[in-house]
Subunit: 330 residues, 2 copies
Amino acid sequence: MKRPTLQVVAARAGVSKSSVSRVINGEATVAPEIRDVVMQAVRELGYVPNGAARNLVTRRTDTLAVVVSDPPQGVVSDDPLFSAVVRAISRELESAGKRLVLMLAESDQSRFRVEQYIAGGHVDGVLLVALHGTDPLPAALARQDLPVVSFNRTSAQGVPYVALDNTGGAELAVRHLLERGRRRIATITGPLELHESRERLAGYRRTLQDTGRRPMVGLGDFTRASGAQAMRELLADDPELDAVFAANDLMAIGALRALHQAGRRVPEDVAVVGFDDIEAASYTTPALTSIRSPMADQATAAVHLLLQLIDGGPADPVIMPNQLVIRESS
Amino acid sequence: MKRPTLQVVAARAGVSKSSVSRVINGEATVAPEIRDVVMQAVRELGYVPNGAARNLVTRRTDTLAVVVSDPPQGVVSDDPLFSAVVRAISRELESAGKRLVLMLAESDQSRFRVEQYIAGGHVDGVLLVALHGTDPLPAALARQDLPVVSFNRTSAQGVPYVALDNTGGAELAVRHLLERGRRRIATITGPLELHESRERLAGYRRTLQDTGRRPMVGLGDFTRASGAQAMRELLADDPELDAVFAANDLMAIGALRALHQAGRRVPEDVAVVGFDDIEAASYTTPALTSIRSPMADQATAAVHLLLQLIDGGPADPVIMPNQLVIRESS
DNA sequence: CTGAAAGCGCTTACAG
DNA sequence: CTGAAAGCGCTTACAG
């Protein structure tokens, strides 16, 4: 059975299509008796406006795209934070009466599809998550003169963002290790294509440098396996190291495992600090000290910024502060 | 600057709108020279068809909704599997040229919004994830005569599903513990509103029953914290228990921690088996034995089933088998 | 405050 | 194979 249209609601209510439309859209200038008879008809017929027809004329879709631009290995979208971020975004959009189209851009082809989709006028704005520094997407989207907000800092000009204070977070971590009396503090980095990885590394370097210590850098890619691998390499390079700052918790968990296998006690022999404070950080043995990133708040802020931008408001970048959470591993 | 329409492409190419439309949609009956001149104009103008206008007439949107019907605590959407599932679905849809609208239905209000959205003709089909046994959504959606596939078995009649063999998985786990010579095997359940929780519990009960052993059931809700809590209670009830089957890995991880704190060695004193085989299972100390659920395959199968249904094909339920992965904890 | 009419940008029979 | 015309289901000036 076909879905009823405005037309048939109007017929049923004995008024014009215009009036039905006005009632549906809650316009003030409608006589109460017309409102009532229309609402009655709407209810009886189970009428719901056709979205496509409405979008076509209003040029609004009340839909925002969340584009996760992530390499195929899934640096970000396999991350436990992914759910938290998507969830927070979804809730925020929901309470604003908007919808969320999720697109993963893992390849050039899918990146192209994203652009096409956006160009097709399907969404009112775009939230970019997990960009590489060299990602072509922000620039491409900015060209479409559609509101865009990035969840990371980007190299593209004029794309507003809501970012973590990654440098500051790394400083917190390293300073904490120094205060604990650690002398040989290594770091395990995320993939260096990502801004946040570079910033966390920079924070580590700068803090060590201020105290005249030598940096020791192991390369990871934000996965547990890479954290374990980098830890083994760091131990081989300097068996005397007494602390490690991993640029995210997953790698810290991998490092804990590698340290355990190498017979090192944590924190007695080697102190470990992670970054993100995912739920799993409380459940490792020993429980992991970490830098808490307010991901949910960041997501909320990003959505707000985007909605504000869509309404023609200003778009000043936002930097979210972090917090050190001390547990057993340091 | 306004986006170009079919109209202006036609003018530029010196042909009718009909012809442009045919070229865009790749119809065979177009003269090569017309095709060329149209493609040229499309390229020069950067033309992309307006989605709303197209949807309005074709009645297809090439968009599918993924509805995560989850209580506010987020039993499922905070789960590490959430990313894996969403990711697999997204990839599969992408390769089929479809889009994904993600909706979380956490309250009656948001459930209503989901229904409205679906009724608005915005999507061609719906994939339901994480249903309670009593969730009203499947029935409500089925009434809209729109293709629906559930990621769980549902109580609603006529909603095809792709489910795990939860009962069989639980049997694998318990049988394994019995083979290891364990005598007092407890279980920690998921929230019993969820079908899968009940099925895993049923598999546990049946297997124990077959060997005449007494069931010991602790109630959890799929979170780590609940696993730890249930483990403490089970230990208080029966300090002699020598094995526990947790209905998911997160709870198993919580249980490991509680056992550690209670001074029990794993697996010497108590063997532990989880369910799902999330990545974290390999990184616990000791590494966790688990039942591997082919979540990605399940997601792929669900998408296939839905696409098939949309094309008017049959919709036979699918049950995915599980596999025991033995590690150090048992 | 209400209604008739135009129009949003496409696709699709229908002639030719 | 191509084009003119109708129509998808809405909203929105414009009269009244």
